[in-house]
Symmetry: C2
Subunit: 310 residues, 2 copies
């Protein structure tokens, strides 16, 4: 088993300045799972209602995603409805219906318990803890969360952070949770809670990695084709985890590359609604864009001679 | 003549969560000028009233800054009073008194007309045009502006942009001026107005360079010692111009380095009020921090072999 992703699977109704789409495939586990599947064997764990369109499960299977961890139960699938205003920086929720997620009990099928790379996407931290309890000996576990859990399940969230390797949060959530407007200070406080590494996702401003020893700043893609930001953070996480699983190399160098791979995947995901861009995405495009990221961020040192009399 | 900087010279009253300082040395030309003086011969053009403390002029002279372009006229010096809230992302103005700047007529002393590198710091664009008219044959001219001129002198501002090489703006101003929330689109629109290159300053999120041909993303310094953001953008511009003047190399590679030098200078400037950190700043510190910026942003390519089956 390569990558196991536990999170939401849902039907989104999304409105952006580029249009409105009703009941399209979405959810944190879906965006992360599809992104990860470009790199490694991927399994998704979540729950859907009996109304969940079969075509979406077929799509996951066509991407060779293991769906044995997706429970189909009586009731309605998770639904989220929201819109983005002109600046598209923030999702505004119109309606969230947890539906079958109110009774979700993540029970991993036996073969998924041995997953080496596990991403606990945004979900009730108490459920994230239940998943952690079932894992045998993962190489690397990462987690994400959102404001709702920061406000309502702070203690469980702290417990999850203590037990994972990578904490992924967007900048607003990290500032909010750690009660400081300063991102580096928020990251240091998260490290003190017990995480080995913290990745702050900044959307249009890129991503930052903090550990006790190192700092890495990933540029953003100069995206002028942004159509729907939904799922960007999850496709980042999926690419990051998938690439680490594929390479099985946890060196600092490779973690930096994995963060760029995640950034590349997110930059594609936002170019169309739902998973539409990912459905069309080709391996060559990924490589080309990775290379662009390198071009965007390269610069040479001040020479020694110059340094002396800067 | 190396670098000529035209802008405001003033006395700032600044309040941040780290304290309040009354009537400290400030102004766009001062922050840019001091920063530039670390690299190249620098002259400042502006105006002060007879109340301007002699010690500040002595300080500029001690930094070997040419102050022959600073007019001392009857009246009161420019004053700005403002505060930063907890998040320190935005300056809130309490009071702006243009004072002697209401009658400022930038007349360059003969020897400053031949300046090779000219930075038109934030100032009435009609005055910026007057300076442009006096320049003999500059190698490179850069300009900055602010919301007030975008709202009130749009045509003059467009004229300045047409005539300079580098437009420097912060992200909010660029979005506002070009009427789009998307930074890359705003930058492209600014290029269409006639600028050869656009640098978008994003404060805690770094800086971006856009030209017709290339894009460069400079990381931000993970600054957990931020005490007073006033003048950050101007010290960025000063370092950028000073380094280009010192090296006299307008290659793409060197422009990238100059943007990092600017970022380094800004990262120091915000560590204390007014010019206090710059007064203590040593050349070795600059070099060390430049090197840190490289460490923060380096990553290796996906190998060819990997690329084939990403």
């Amino acid at each position: 088993m390569g990558v196991l992703i536990v999170g939401t699977i849902g039907l989104d109704t999304v409105e952006t300045p580029f249009g409105k789409k009703n009941e399209i495939l979405g959810g944190s586990a879906i965006h992360a799972g599809i992104s990860s599947s470009f790199y490694a064997d991927t399994a998704i764990c979540g729950v859907v209602g009996v109304d969940f369109p079969k075509k979406h499960l077929d799509f996951l299977k066509s991407k060779k995603i293991d769906i044995s961890g997706i429970q189909v139960v009586p009731g309605e699938t998770f639904r989220w409805s929201g819109y983005y205003e002109y600046d598209m920086n923030q999702a505004h929720t119109r309606d969230t219906r947890l539906n079958v997620y109110t009774m979700f009990d993540p029970k991993l099928p036996e073969k998924l318990k041995s997953a080496q790379f596990v991403f606990l996407a945004n979900l009730d931290p108490e459920l994230q803890l239940k998943v952690l309890d079932q894992l045998e000996k993962p190489t690397l576990v990462a987690m994400d969360t959102m404001d709702f859990w920061i406000n309502n399940k702070r203690d469980a969230l702290r417990e999850v952070i203590k037990r994972v390797d990578f904490v992924l949060m967007n900048d607003g959530e990290a500032r909010h949770f750690m009660e400081t407007p300063n991102i580096p200070i928020a990251a240091k406080k998260l490290l003190k809670l017990g995480a080995k590494a913290v990745i702050i996702k900044k959307g249009e401003h890129g991503a930052l990695l903090f550990t006790d020893k190192l700092h890495f700043s990933a540029p953003s893609y100069p995206q002028d084709m942004l159509r729907d930001p939904t799922g960007a953070g999850d496709s980042f996480a999926g690419g990051f985890m998938g690439y680490l699983a594929k390479t099985n190399d946890m060196s600092e160098k490779n973690i930096r590359r994995a963060i760029i791979v995640g950034s590349v995947m997110a930059s594609f995901n936002v170019e169309d609604f739902s998973l539409d861009r990912m459905k069309r995405l080709k391996h060559e495009e990924i490589f080309t864009r990775f290379d662009e990221f390198r071009c965007f961020s390269e610069f040479e040192s001040l020479s020694e001679k110059e340094a002396k009399n800067v």
